[in-house]
Structure formats: structure tokens, C-alpha cells
Point group: C2
């Protein structure tokens, strides 16, 4: 048995979900991996919020350097969201010899090169499975067991909010504004839904997927991006008449030596696997020159699915660092 | 750059597909991993068959011990098929310090405990991604990035031949015998299709999935197994009338402390993700207590998709052994 101590930056919804994932499954993880994961310190201002987890007051710290400078902590999980101070905190942790796990697509997409380089320079690991597709283990697949492929295409439904809105518009012949309102009431869309409905969230995720699959980092601001705010009932009807559904598709495609990429609403034929991906579900369709077509489907958001991906990354780091030490 | 030498047992369809996968993608693999994979020796009687790969006569050996005793070979790929001599050969390779990769579901399912124990005792790695779902990277996901879950259910369409037959019967209102004949002509079904249509192939794969997801090995002969030979046009019609498709489902489900398992034709509602998995495609639906529902979809057979999984396993072994040596 090996104990691995973890510092957590942020105990909001996703932080709480990760903590809870570990609480629920500590016994299974220990039995199958021999690794005892313990979250020893948590950076969080709101220490009084009611959370459905067993967290004690003395785990909370106010100064992130209490985590970065703690020699017992091996892994730092960053769940603050936003580009800064999250990116600086991750690099600071790496410089102090900590491996880093994050779900933060905005920070990873904005600073992909700096973050991966800092990890390499400090001989630590950096993983961000939860940043794309929530619980769907797509990044790990692309960077490990599918590496014997030349990737040719990636097509993704990468945002649950917009997929929920488009699905409801399609199934119940509703207008965009009406569905958005219901989605906000149900908690499927944020009060300010701009980053989701205008496609920015998808552009961040596509930037990360392209960097890993094609080894070609394109900043999200350079990806042609169109959201779903302009989609009307008539557009949906016209697509249906052609045997298609409108989906917000993040696409990257290799043509000869060029990579074409975009985020935009597209008409997907009913019999394409992505057409069956409805409501809050996400899916990533990948084409490789050996494996041909693959699709990964699952919950692209939510505290526990995201927690599954985060703790999966933590376990992979713990496993790899154990191999190194043998 | 690190060179990893490989011995290959069997150069039939899957062996040729694995060789070709490496030929096509050697440059990409080297660029992304720094690992130069070379198949140095091949055990194969039929040295004259025309294959669409650059293999030279001096790579062929007739005695497997030329591979097992070669100190330069780190990894042995077993693609002979059948339980024996494949199982004995794999254990012999392990005892000689070689890590082993196989696509052989019959051998892995029959000898799961002996093979994994022999690998552990000899401190080598044993991987068999291609044995379940062809190119779909399901085993790696279950054993790495999804390990922070308690698995609750596995539902799989794990056999392409039977899924092709059921799809054609459903779409064109055809009888089982007529579709089987066409499938055999097209090469989607073997001359003796028993292992596929009676569900044995699925039972092997379910046995492997259960061993990994639940840590509970059940020999395939102990899995209640029913194939599709008794499915009539009328059964398909009756299912359709209920809004369902008949699929050959391999299922394992945790209920309290018991695991219920079977291979049998089941009625799947049209709106379930598995209902959209048609013809030769495979899919595995997994439910975990954190990640919730996930589905993996892709080509469950074929030389190149299987080659992708095999070479993916080889790369993972090469990567892990490099970590160990650092």
C-alpha cells in the first residue's frame, strides 16, 4: 500500500464532486490499485458552505503556498476555473515538484504550451482529462492506446448546455429563447450562458483535442467559432426535412498536410452515431487510419462524472510515479 | 529514441494487420513517443502467402523458442488464436522475461488467472485490449482512468457477425438463414459460424470484461449463453411493435453483492444508445457510480482496427518499461 497526499485548489461543485468520488470509492481504489489517496489540504475561502462530504475545518488553507510548499503533497488538483490565477498556480505547483491535475479547459487551452513545458522542465506529470467531455476518457485514449494511429478527423458534441437546447428545440418544436429559459430554470444553463451558447467553451475543448491528436496547438481565439444563438425553429425544420439534426459540432479534419477546424452548428444525418447523442450528453467521434471510426459517449459535465475523470488522472499519476520509484 | 524489438507469433489476417499498422504509422509513433518499434522475428509456417506488407524471409522462424530465448526481444505478440498452444506459448514467453500482448479472447478467457499470475510472478506486463471489442479501447479505460469508479453494469454488443445478421434481419425483414448465407459470402461470417452465432465468442469477451471491471473471474463455460440461431422474423417484428430492436447482449450487472451475468438476445428500446449500433460495429456500455453512463463504439474486428489495439498495447508496455528503467 502506498499513500499519496493531494492538495486541492477550490471546493466548489466540481471540487466537491471530486472529493465525494474519492469518499465513495476509496475502498475500491485501494483494493484495485494499492493506492490510498488522501486530500490533506484544500484552498477555499468559503469554509462554511454546506457540502454533502466529510471535510474538516483544519483541511482548509487560505494561502496556496501552504499547498505548494508542503513536501508531503505529491499531486495538486486545480479546480478554480478561469485562466488566472489558475494557470499561475498550476505552474507554481509544478515548480515545487508537484504533478498537476485540472478540469480547467479555459486555462489549458489558453496556456497549453507553457503548462506542458513547465511540467516537462520540472519532471512532473500534467493531466487534464476532465477538461474535455467531462467523464468521457477521450484524452487518455488519444494519448496512450490510440497512439499507433494517424488521426484523420475529430468530430465532437462537446457542450451539454447547447446540446440540451438543440435537442429540446428539435423534439418539441420550440424556439431557442423558450428552451434557454427552461434550461436556466433547471440548472442546465448558466445565468450568463454566453461562453456555452456562443461556442467559446467548445473552442477551448477543440483546441485541447487538436493539440493532443494532431500535435498542433491552435489558440481557441484562432478557431472559427459560431454558436447556436442564431438557430431558429425554421432551421431545425429544414434540417429535419433533409433527414438531419442540427448539432453544435467541434470539428478538426486533416486534409493532406493541412488541418481544417471550426466550431459551428452542422446538419448531422439521422443515421450518424452523433445524431443519437441527445440532451446533456456529450460524444467525441474520432477517425484514425488504423482504428477507423470510434465514438466515445457519456456525461460531459456534472460533479461526479467530472470527479471520475479527475480522480482517474490522479490514479494514473500515482501509478506512473510508483513505476518510476521502483 | 528507444528501440523496442518484438517477436510475433502468427502472421495471419490479424498478424498482417498489426504489421501493417506499424508500417503505416512508424513515423508518427516515433515522433510522438520516441519509441522505434521493430518486429524482428515472426513464427509462421506459411512463409509464401502474398501479404500486402514488406516482410523479409529471414524474419520467419519455425521454432518459437527462437523468439522466447532471444535476449533482444522485449515484447511477444501472440496472434495464433485458440486456447492451445497459444496459452502455453504466452506463459513460456513471460517466464523468459518478455511482456506479452494478445488478441486471443479464447485463451485469455480460459486461462485468465494463470496468465495474469504468470505475468506478475515474472515481473512482466500482459495486455489484451484487442481481445474485447477489436479497436475499441475499453479494457484500458476500465483498468486505468475509470478506476475511481465502482462499476455497476456492463452491456455490450461484442460480436460483429451476429450484430450484422440481426441488423440485416431488422432492416430488410429477412430470415436468419438468408442473411447468414449473404454474410458468409461477404466474409462477415465464417464458414463454420458456430462460435459467433451461438454466443461463445461473446461469453469469452464478457468473462474478460467481468474479471477487469468487477475483479471477478467467471470461466466462459459458466456464463449462461444463448445465441441468435433461434431468432425468427416474427421475433424481430414483435420487438419492433414494442419500439425495440433485438440485439445479442452480453450483460453483467451488480445487484447488492451479487453479479448477474448472461449472453442472450435482448430487446433494446430504440432510444437506448446501443440500439444505434448496427451491422459490424461493436459497442460497450458501462455504468459506474461516479462517471454514470458511458458508451464506447467502434469496429469490433478487422485487421487494422485490431492492429490499432495491439500496437497500442505494445506502446503502453514500451512506455511503462521505459518509466521503470529511468
Amino acid at each position: 500500500m502506498r499513500t499519496v497526499k493531494i492538495g486541492l485548489l477550490g471546493l466548489g461543485n466540481i471540487g466537491t464532486g471530486s472529493y465525494k468520488t474519492l469518499e465513495m470509492n476509496k475502498d475500491t481504489i485501494l483494493a484495485s490499485t494499492g493506492i490510498d489517496l488522501i486530500i490533506t489540504k484544500i484552498l477555499e475561502k468559503d469554509t462554511q458552505r454546506k457540502r454533502d462530504i466529510n471535510v474538516s475545518q483544519d483541511q482548509f488553507v487560505k494561502d496556496p503556498s501552504e499547498i505548494f510548499k508542503d513536501p508531503e503533497i505529491e499531486i495538486v488538483i486545480e479546480l478554480l476555473g478561469g485562466i488566472e490565477p489558475a494557470s499561475s498556480f498550476m505552474m507554481e505547483a509544478m515548480k515545487n515538484g508537484k504533478s498537476v491535475v485540472t478540469a480547467n479547459k479555459a486555462a489549458v487551452a489558453a496556456n497549453f504550451d507553457r503548462l506542458t513545458k513547465t511540467a516537462q522542465e520540472n519532471n512532473v506529470l500534467f493531466r487534464f482529462e476532465a477538461s474535455v467531455g467531462g467523464g468521457i476518457p477521450i484524452l487518455n485514449a488519444i494519448t496512450t492506446v490510440l497512439q499507433a494511429n494517424k488521426f484523420q478527423e475529430i468530430l465532437g458534441i462537446l457542450n451539454g448546455t447547447t446540446n440540451y437546447i438543440l435537442t429540446q428545440m428539435t423534439e418539441y418544436d420550440l424556439a431557442y429563447e423558450d428552451v434557454l429559459k427552461t434550461a436556466q430554470e433547471k440548472g442546465f444553463a448558466e445565468a450568463d450562458p454566453t461562453a456555452d451558447v456562443e461556442g467559446e467553451d467548445c473552442a477551448n475543448k477543440l483546441s485541447i483535442l487538436m493539440a493532443l491528436a494532431f500535435g498542433n496547438y491552435v489558440p481557441p481565439s484562432d478557431i472559427p467559432t459560431k454558436g447556436i444563438t442564431g438557430i431558429t425553429k425554421e432551421d431545425i425544420e429544414a434540417a429535419k426535412a433533409k433527414g438531419c439534426k442540427i448539432k453544435l459540432i467541434s470539428q478538426a479534419k486533416k486534409e493532406k498536410d493541412k488541418i481544417l477546424y471550426s466550431v459551428k452548428p452542422m446538419e448531422i444525418p439521422f443515421d450518424h452515431p452523433l445524431a443519437g447523442v441527445n440532451n446533456e450528453f456529450n460524444a467525441v467521434f474520432v477517425k484514425g487510419n488504423a482504428v477507423d471510426e470510434l465514438m466515445f459517449y457519456g456525461k460531459g459535465a456534472g460533479p461526479l462524472p467530472t470527479g471520475s475523470a479527475i480522480m482517474g488522472d490522479v490514479l494514473e499519476i500515482a501509478r506512473l510515479s510508483a513505476e518510476k520509484k521502483q
